[in-house]
């Protein structure tokens, strides 16, 4: 079929592609995906999602709902019970009040919420501060929204936090928003309340909107998660994005939400109603069950991640890959400087020689060069085996 189309005179599909999309590089993760896929017996520490299956009571609630014939559209903003339940939870966990009718939107995964937040707030040429190393979608999403991403490098020496001195040189009169993504993928770094306080003056002086992706908030191991919205006078300036993918092991369900100022949420809802209409009803039902009755299962999973975190991070340091303490999410971000290899070289050789898949840090931005992202959302047995193989790899390197 493809061949036939190509043979039609005068037809050139490329000419019909958007220039913006054509100019966008494919995700650096893709190459690794292909390499790992064709290998047998590889242990993958490259997976950015929980290894747990969604707890049974959540799946069961969804099945029951389907059996009852609950298969219709919901309101654009999402089921009222679900919105109310999330607002209650946020009040309890973070002390923040949001109106379930006007200040929250249920989205198809946090990914949609990120996209909507940028599209609803950016005009052509508006600049957004995006710290890196960071999750791979923000920069393309800003570009697709017509904005201009301005990278802000974070460093190991300052625990991969965003500090005022990192962003102030990058701010111009076109800067409109600051993206914050903590606990952070890929570094596992967190921002404490004090760290956020330090940014507040700059944010206000430059009248920035803060778009805060907090999808790993529930996976903070050493202290309660702090949100920029909790700072005095900052709730209006902040759009919180969160979801159930990581906290309740529900990645495939695609349920996220956005909360913030009613004008911004209204604008996001407008795009959502024209492009998505509503998040899938069965996933919304499952999300309601998860939030209403899933606290204990969530704590159990978090506890298990924490055990693995200690096991894996101490293991990395023991075999000679120095790793700062990740305090959130489920990633360790060890430095490979001692190996003398680049992130790409290290990852590729480790995969070919010892069959352990990690993601090279530079995939998440240039300042991730010299690091690896290793997900510890995998069984303890696999983590121990992976550490053994990595140790073998390192000692073979030193003999070269």
């Amino acid at each position: 079929m493809k061949m036939l189309l190509k043979n039609i005179p005068g037809w050139n599909a490329d000419a019909h592609l958007s220039r913006v999309v054509r100019g966008m590089p494919p995700s650096g993760i893709r190459k690794f995906f292909d390499l790992v896929s064709e290998m047998d017996g590889a242990i993958s520490l490259g997976v950015g999602e929980p290894d747990f299956v969604t707890p049974w009571h959540i799946r069961e609630a969804c099945i029951f709902s389907l059996e009852s014939g609950n298969t219709h559209y919901t309101s654009n903003r999402g089921m009222p019970e679900l919105r109310a339940c999330i607002c209650e939870q946020i009040k309890k966990d973070m002390g923040l009040d949001y109106d379930p009718d006007e200040e929250i939107l249920i989205t198809t995964g946090v990914s949609e919420a990120v996209d909507l937040a940028f599209r609803a707030t950016l005009n052509p040429g508006d600049e957004v501060l995006v710290h890196e190393p960071c999750y791979v979608a923000y920069t393309p999403d800003v570009i697709l929204a017509g904005g201009s991403p301005r990278p802000v490098s974070t460093k190991l020496s300052t625990e991969f936090k965003v500090r005022p001195e990192d962003i102030s040189p990058v701010i111009t009169d076109k800067t409109r928003a600051l993206l914050l993504s903590y606990p952070n993928n890929p570094t596992g770094a967190i921002m404490t309340r004090q760290d956020l306080e330090d940014l507040a003056d700059l944010v206000v002086e430059n009248d920035l909107l803060v778009i805060s992706d907090e999808v790993y908030a529930q996976l903070s191991y050493t202290e309660n998660h702090a949100s920029f919205a909790q700072l005095e006078g900052m709730q209006e300036r902040t759009v919180i994005l969160n979801g159930l993918s990581k906290s309740h092991a529900m990645t495939g369900w695609r349920i996220g939400y956005a909360m913030g100022d009613p004008a911004i949420l209204g604008a996001m809802t407008k795009i959502h109603q024209y492009t998505m209409l509503c998040a899938p009803v069965m996933a919304q039902v499952a999300a309601l069950e998860a939030l209403a009755k899933g606290a204990e299962e969530m704590e159990n999973m978090k506890h298990e991640y924490n055990l693995r975190r200690r096991l894996f991070v101490s293991g990395l340091n023991r075999i000679g890959l120095s790793c700062f303490e990740p305090r959130g999410a489920f990633y360790a971000f060890p430095s490979i400087q001692s190996s003398g290899l680049s992130s790409d070289e290290f990852s590729e050789q480790l995969l070919r020689e010892e069959k352990v898949a990690v993601v090279p840090g530079n995939v998440f931005g240039p300042s991730g060069e010299g690091f690896l992202r290793c997900s510890y959302a995998t069984s303890r047995e696999e983590l121990i085996e992976a550490l053994d193989r990595m140790e073998t790899f390192l000692s073979s390197l030193s003999k070269r």
Binding site: S27, S44, V47, E49, R380
Partner: protein, 159 residues
Amino acid sequence: MNEILEILSENAKATPGEIATLLGRPEEEVARKIKELEDSGVIRKYITLINWERLQESYVFAVIELKVALQRKTGYDAVAERIARFSEVESVRLISGDHDLSVTVRGRSMKEVAYFVAEKIAPLEGVQSTCTHFILKSYKEHGVILTERPRVQRLVVTP
């Protein structure tokens, strides 16, 4: 203390060193606490969960429900402890509801179990009636699903 027990309850083979790494505490401290738990009888035994059904030659298990006449002074304890001494008996529990004691018995054949109940349990003083339920298939034991189907695989690398 409870964190150590949670880990051991899931894996009796976890060593003090491994537990110490998981909890981020010194190995000596963990070893000392385990010793205390053993000495005080909180940890009674380290056992292995076996899926006997996977073997050709397996055991037969039965749950026996007993009605027992309450005895002055000793209540149910005297009968229950008597029953518990038989090596064929795996567990003895006092339960609420229609019956008083629930006893699990292990034998080589249904006949062997039935004879054991008839000869050793039913005639005991205080035992008023027995009702034997043979276990036909075990789906979950000690929190472990024995009939798990192969899991759906995650994508190998995702952002």
